[in-house]
């Protein structure tokens, strides 16, 4: 009956793997429910995972955002180097926001917590969350070094055997514009790791596990084999591509040569533009995170994230390039370039597996960090009212690229996994008014499948008083490109309502009586627009997402605003004989 015993052991390992993924999901849900920052609780800008004692990630919560994937995965190793596992005690929690030891900017806190079973340390829980304020210049590109960007927390203990490190909490309370939220978030991160650890111990008791070694080996072995099998399905070769970001003050080229081997995919970023003097630089862990995501979402989307399933994706990032920023380069808004990396990866992969990739999308989140009050307008004077102090960040998305068989998604985040906040909730926490937030017609790249349309936002303060926007926008000079004959998505635009064009990056004032206008990019189209299904064109026109004029000029369809197609005229226009 040895085979039956072996079979049972195998089935139990599968069950345990499933359970471990449920454990980290509970960990993530606990964070969402207890977090203070809107970025975590409303937007879901977080990640959570469990690690073995070698610092290898065994499972990661499905809930979360890809930017943290590989970066948090690498982070635990750094904690263990400073605080070896054997020095850890029950009730300890360790924290950092070091962009090079964590997930790429000071606004992301990473907390690591040991889990103990029968008095022995058996594993580690880690999580990362984006907080709203960590002092300094804040969320924006203006810093010229990381020291200007905010409070820098090296890896330290924030709880020692269950007791808060009050010195640490004193420092962070003093260093943030939002001390209550920041402190609350640290408590929440620790509580969520505790929740994960508790559940892990219950699981180990139930399955009679002395340690996690056997399960880790099982997970890694099967994940690696499955990932390698998926890679083997991709035609071998080297594929090169480039995409362009608007940069801070000059265009940034991102270049990659992707080599698909039997059991690995290697990406060389040679040819990519050099470092910027401003905070759009990308630390290498963050580059690996979004590059791996871009490959994985095409090549092996079903395989859960862990150390082994990410291992076959290898990045060679030359020194001195913007994707390998060293300390102390400024990195606060590294997402703006980092989130274009999946477009770059798909630009390579389209040459190997064209039926599996999407066109380029808006990609970078449009995050207008808005600030108003004394720090922008000075103290109130009798002859000039000033808006109440506020600091707020909202996440907004343009259109995603068209898919081979499906249109792109309208105003939806990709590759980021965050959600936007309700306008009503935002207006409850800051004296601002959104006058407009709706889809942007004629912005989706034309194609057999259409790019997702972007959105239009119009933002002012209560009473239309002066405020500032720390702009971090992209794809204004370099719109998302279509593929296979599909048209480009509409470029983004950043303006004052009174008409003046604003810079895409940097702190700028919206004066009294004026408003900020944001037109978010649409996604690129895919395939020839003249091959698009007539009914779909008609529907888009009726819905006002595509104008009758664009329908005629780009799609070669003659359709009334009510969506009625003139079939004869359309056939003539498309060159078809009736």
């Amino acid at each position: 009956m040895d085979t039956a015993i072996g079979a049972l052991a195998d089935i139990q390992k599968q069950v345990m793997w499933n359970r471990l993924i449920a454990v980290v999901e509970e960990q993530a849900q606990t964070m969402i429910r207890t977090a203070f920052s809107t970025t975590v609780r409303e937007a879901g800008d977080l990640s959570a995972g469990v690690f073995d004692l070698k610092g290898r990630m065994m499972a990661q919560a499905v809930t979360g955002t890809p930017g943290h994937v590989n970066s948090m995965s690498e982070s635990v190793g750094h904690f263990l180097r400073k605080f070896p596992a054997e020095t850890m005690h029950p009730g300890d929690h360790y924290i950092t926001n070091d962009p090079w030891l964590g997930t790429g900017h000071l606004l992301d806190l990473t907390v690591v917590t040991p889990a103990f079973h029968n008095g022995r340390i058996v594993g580690l829980f880690a999580n990362t969350a984006h907080v709203i304020d960590i002092g300094g210049l804040g969320m924006g590109p203006e810093g010229r070094s990381v020291f200007e960007e905010g409070l820098y927390i090296p890896i330290v203990k924030c709880f020692d055997r269950g007791r808060p490190n009050e010195t640490f909490f004193d420092f962070i309370r003093a260093g943030s514009r939002l001390p209550v939220e920041l402190e609350g978030d640290v408590y929440s991160l620790c509580a969520c790791n505790d929740a994960g650890a508790r559940r892990l111990i219950e699981m180990m008791d139930e399955f009679n596990m002395p340690d996690l070694d056997g399960l880790a080996d099982y997970i890694f072995e099967h994940s690696l084999a499955a990932t390698e099998a998926e890679i083997a399905r991709v035609p071998k070769g080297t594929y090169a591509a480039e995409v362009f970001s608007d940069g801070y003050d000059e265009t940034v080229a991102l270049r990659a040569a992707m080599t698909v081997r039997d059991d690995a995919i290697e990406v060389d970023f040679a040819g990519t533009s050099g470092l910027s003097s401003r905070g759009i630089n990308v630390p290498p862990a963050y580059c690996r995170a979004y590059s791996s995501f871009g490959i994985k979402v095409v090549v092996a989307p079903e395989i859960p994230n862990n150390w082994a399933s990410l291992a076959p994706f290898r990045m060679k990032i030359p020194e001195g390039c913007i994707l390998n920023a060293p300390r102390p380069y400024p990195v606060a808004v590294r997402h703006v370039i980092g989130q274009m990396l999946p477009d770059l990866m798909m630009g390579c992969l389209v040459q190997a597996v064209p039926e599996r990739v999407a066109a380029e999308g808006a990609s970078s989140l449009w995050i207008p960090p808005l600030r108003g009050g004394a720090s922008i307008s000075g103290q109130s004077r009798s002859n000039r009212p000033v808006v109440a102090d506020f600091e707020i960040v909202t996440f907004n998305s343009g259109g995603t690229g068209a898919r081979p068989a499906l249109d792109g998604l309208n105003a939806t985040a990709f590759p980021s996994g965050v959600r936007t906040m309700p306008v009503e909730a935002t207006e409850n926490v800051a004296p601002i008014i959104f006058w407009r937030k709706e889809l942007r017609p004629d912005s989706g790249g034309a194609g057999r499948t259409r790019g997702g349309v972007g959105q239009i936002m119009e933002i002012g303060t209560t009473g239309d008083l002066e405020f500032a926007c720390n702009a971090v926008f992209d794809r204004v000079a370099n719109p998302p490109r279509g593929r296979a004959g599909g048209g480009d998505g509409a470029a983004g635009r950043v303006e004052l309502k009174s008409g003046k064009t604003l810079r895409t990056k940097g702190l700028q004032i919206v004066p009294d009586g004026d408003r900020l206008m944001l037109m978010l990019p649409g996604g690129g189209g895919m395939g020839e627009p003249s091959e698009r299904d007539l009914a779909r064109v008609a529907r888009d026109v009726r819905d006002g997402l595509v104008s009758a004029q664009e329908a005629r000029e780009l799609y070669r369809v003659v359709v009334s605003r009510d969506g009625v197609i003139d079939e004869a005229a359309t056939a003539a226009l498309r060159g078809e004989v009736q």
Partner: protein, 695 residues
Amino acid sequence: MAFARLAVDIGGTFTDVALESGDGARLTSAKVLTTPAAPEQGVIEAIRTVLGIAGVAASEIGFVVHGTTLATNAIIERKGARTALITTAGFRDVLAMGNESRYDQYDLNIVLPEPLVPRYLRLPVPERLDNEGRVLLPLDVKAVRELVPLLERERVESIAVGFLHGFVNPVHEQQAREVLAEALREVPVSLASEVSPEMREWERFSTTAANAYVQPLMARYLRRLEADLPALGIGAPLFLMLSGGGLTTVETACRFPIRLVESGPAGGALYGADVARQHGLDGVLSFDMGGTTAKICLIDDYKPQTARSFEVARVGRFRKGSGLPLRVPVIDMVEIGAGGGSLAAVDSMGRITVGPESAGADPGPACYGRGGRLPAVTDANLLLGRYDPQRFAGGTMHLDEKAARQAIAAVVSERLGLEPEMAALGVVEMVDENMANAARVHAIESGKSYPGRTLIAFGGGGPVHAYRVAEKLGIQRVLVPWGAGVGSAIGFLRAPIAYEVVRSLYQRLSSFDVDAVNALLDDMKAEATEVVALGSFGAEMTETRIAYMRYVGQGHEIPVPLPARPLGAEDSPQIRAAYDREYTKFYDRPVPGSDIEVLSYAVMVATAPFSFSWSASERVVEAKAGPAVRQQAVRDTVTGDEADWAVHERADLVAGAAVRGPAIIAEDETSTLVGPGWTARVTAFGAIELQREAA
């Protein structure tokens, strides 16, 4: 003499009816096929049938309660009214943009749910309120009037009106309704400020659009049914089951039909609560496993847990975030894609997966012999010896073990190099694990835990899987009630006449305006009382008040009970203390020094739940179980060993009879598995109680 009480539950396939005698001593039930084109026909037939069986005259019925999935199905099948949404200019696409996220990060070909109102019928008009309800831009009444020709031309059958911050100040929505009502007399108008007066525009507009979408259909149906009942000789009033667990009048149901969406499952939870009350169990998890899904619900102190939002019509395989959000009071249930028909497969990592794809009723699991080639959970149970192939569904269906074995061999065994029996074990373990995992996450979200609870199992699959799911959750006791086949309908009979009103009023506790809160709560109480009074016939009402609070800036509100009386300034510290207590219950430790904000309030007015005074402490005499009818070779999913399990007929077991596991207690609709280490005993109320011995 007390009048008889009648409950009707329209499901997707069957219309169930339960008739209870006035003294509660006799319960008769029947099932007929649902008649989707004219659902009232099935209802009438079901009532005739049950009256016939029970030998009761229509005139003896004093109370009719009805629950239905019609509203849900209309949304899922997109068969509702042509609906327009009139909304704030600049916010035309709130329904389409949602929260701008993907519910699955790794699926490049993800499809998001289509809004119920297409863009060309989402009609913006100039107006704007701020977050405190002050008018920033007055409603352009002329712009509303100018929409009328378009609404007529597009043959719009129902209109939703939702403005930003309209829940704080409904004046613009009301003005818009006046204009529309004057011009379009026949077209019903749903106001967001009435349907779902709570913050968060997407959820509120979505709920309002859904209400408008199902309203004409539901109103027509309910009016027809209301007319048909007297024709049948029933003079009793008709009540509708709400998704939140209370009953309401036809009048209210016609205005807010969206509150009926989950009424069938709500009945199931109330049934679980009633069984819990019978047996004096104050901490329960109900577990209803059917053909395609399993539903679980936490029940404390005989009250099912409630929530204020859920999703309908999920497009992404039961994935959270893939449906249309509805913000109405509901009994809080988690639905898992795990049922007898759920299909097993092997993923690229060599892991067995189960569901959420289902073989459905046709072709069904491979063992049904209707041409299904893919292995389902029922096939796996059969291969493990858990079913008697001759006894399934009361012997009306013969299960084909060979077909089950072939399906499991082809899809699971060969990929993994396992014997079919071991592969079947893997399938059953995995589906049990999936259900237990979902239950655990639900407990986290609810701030609850499982040790000390009793699992109440029903549905075709519940009693089969209950003991193992209980083991995985650390639960020591399982109850399999009697009469579970029409559980939802029985649950309806136990529901109170109740109505819940929810309103938002943002305040910080540090600057709590007691007068404003008292005025709001009084207003809400009056509204709820008015609705309940329509059906309570002078019965005593109770009032429950809840404040939804959180630390300033934090994401999720938690419900904190308030006293049902006017508040005074001195109540503030007590409210804070109550909040800290509730918070600690959820998350272990309070956050020092944080101010607290109150977002919204709920007032629930209800009559007492209808129930008979069970002598719950009634002791049953130990009775001897008769001998097993036979032995069956069953494979244990924990050890992988096969052994003979004794099979008993449930009908043979009298109250007090005990059966030691491992054993199977068979009945027509299902089998109760008594796992190794468990002992079954029949309770005074005919339920099977499984108790796990200390491990």
